[in-house]
């Protein structure tokens, strides 16, 4: 029960973030390291998430590990009424590591308490998705060559978006970040995160308009504004086209600025941005593989 896990972004210290960044860079430079040779990794996806699963499975394959698991709960014994406790107990007898995605919040923490082998949370409902945050950090350090003094603009759904909350927590470990939040009032950054930044003496600014203020940005982190988040559809109609990034808006942005997005995008980044060298979201997805290789190697003490 003393296995090392990655359940929440707060489980890792700043030193561990930096170690993951170094390991990810090492795997990117030398992707063929068969460190998982002879090991079995279980990928338990109680709800489908093709992007995250493929990224993990690519990372495991590149490390030479074998994969067991399921891609949604309809193909597992959950349909027979098995509890999460029993599924995890059983699988931890077979595998050296468990990667788990589950629709219920807190399921990953619970699984880590039940399991005898390390557990990586690949998303537990609206709660945590720490490997996404680490790949976001890796994308920032790779494009900016630093994690200190970053002017980070977060745009879109800042109320419900778990990726922006976790990234905010992670970035607050580094020196002198500036946060700019751009969102409609209905989807503004929750108070608890603003109070957290205040308690650490960190600067943040809130905006409702998506204008040329982005010229100061080092990173623009875009998220989807989802229709189902609005109690009144009229409110959604009012803002749905306000938070769209278009190529012409990038004219006065800094040369080093890069655009990140956890994907999938719908319409919040216009396709005319894709060919701009500042568009980084597809590279960001590739960074996910190296970051996940790094996390696995770190948790299993393979390097």
């Amino acid at each position: 029960m003393n296995a090392k896990n990655l359940i929440s972004i707060t489980d890792f210290s700043k030193e561990e973030y930096l170690r993951i960044m170094d390991l990810a860079a090492d795997f990117e430079a030398n992707p063929d390291q068969r460190l998982l040779d002879g090991k079995v990794v279980a990928t338990l996806f109680f709800e489908p998430s093709t992007r995250t699963r493929l990224s993990f499975e690519t990372a495991i394959n590149r490390l030479g590990g074998e994969i067991i698991g399921f891609t949604d709960s309809s193909s597992s014994s959950v349909t027979k009424g098995e509890t999460l406790h029993d599924t995890i107990k059983m699988v931890s007898n077979y595998a050296d590591l468990i990667v788990m995605r589950h629709p219920l919040e807190g399921s990953a923490r619970y699984a880590s308490e039940v399991s005898d082998v390390p557990v990586i949370n690949a998303g537990d409902g609206a709660n945590q998705h720490p490997t996404q945050t680490l790949l976001d950090l890796y994308s920032i350090v790779k494009t900016q060559d630093r994690l200190d003094d970053i002017n980070l603009f977060m745009v879109g759904d800042l109320k419900y978006g778990r990726t922006v909350h976790s990234l905010l927590m992670a970035m607050s470990h580094f020196n002198n970040p500036i946060f700019n939040f751009i969102a409609p009032p209905e989807l503004a950054m929750p108070n608890e995160y603003k109070l957290y930044l205040q308690s650490k003496g960190m600067r943040y600014f809130e905006h409702t308009e998506f204008t040329d203020i982005i010229s100061e940005a080092d990173i623009i982190y875009m998220t989807r504004v989802q229709k189902e988040r609005f109690p009144d559809p009229v409110d959604y109609e009012k803002v749905k086209n306000v938070y769209i990034l278009r190529n012409k808006m990038l004219k006065h942005t800094k040369d080093n600025m890069r655009i990140l997005h956890p994907l999938p995008r719908v319409n919040e980044i216009h396709t005319d941005v894709d060919s701009n060298p500042k568009a980084y979201y597809f590279d960001q997805a590739r960074n996910g593989v190296y970051t996940r290789m790094a996390i696995i190697a770190h948790l299993l003490n393979l390097k």
Partner: protein
């Protein structure tokens, strides 16, 4: 007016006073007094100068550790304990909300794993007045007005 004991005195044991009337049976359940072999007497809806109807529980031959009794603080935050020996009060204690709470309250989040599997809840108490509990599992905060006892 002649002072009269509404619940008979005990020779030795513990008297838990100033329990809100609405919380009496929750306190009995939390302290597992419904499975207790010793004599337990209780009174409910008693007059009180400080609260709107109170309950009192007397447990013969039973002495509670602080950690054990503090479990009731969520439902009876002003409860007072008197320890009795030979019909005399030999000790007094006011309950205190502990820093961690195990398996007393429910997490308010309907999507939390603790509301779907048969497992104990664990909370970190991040505020004692008003009470705010952070779930170890889903990391959401249950506030006093959302709190429900298991």
């Amino acid at each position: 007016m002649k002072k009269q004991l509404n619940v008979s005195a005990i020779k030795q044991g513990t008297v838990i006073d100033h329990i809100p009337s609405t919380a009496l049976f929750k306190v009995i359940s939390i302290l597992k007094l419904d499975h207790c072999k010793d004599m337990v007497t209780f009174g409910n809806n008693l007059d009180s100068n400080v609260m709107d109807g109170k309950a009192i529980i007397k447990v013969e031959n039973r002495f509670f550790k602080d950690k054990e009794i503090n479990k009731i603080a969520l439902v009876a935050p002003h409860a007072k304990l008197n320890t009795i020996k030979d019909y005399e009060v030999v000790g007094k204690y006011v309950v205190e909300i502990p820093d961690e709470i195990q398996d007393i309250a429910r997490c308010f989040n309907p999507k939390c794993i603790t509301n779907h599997e048969n497992i104990d809840t664990y909370f970190e108490v991040i505020s004692k007045s008003p009470v705010a509990l952070k779930c170890r599992y889903c990391e959401k905060i249950t506030h006093q007005d959302q709190m429900e006892i298991k």
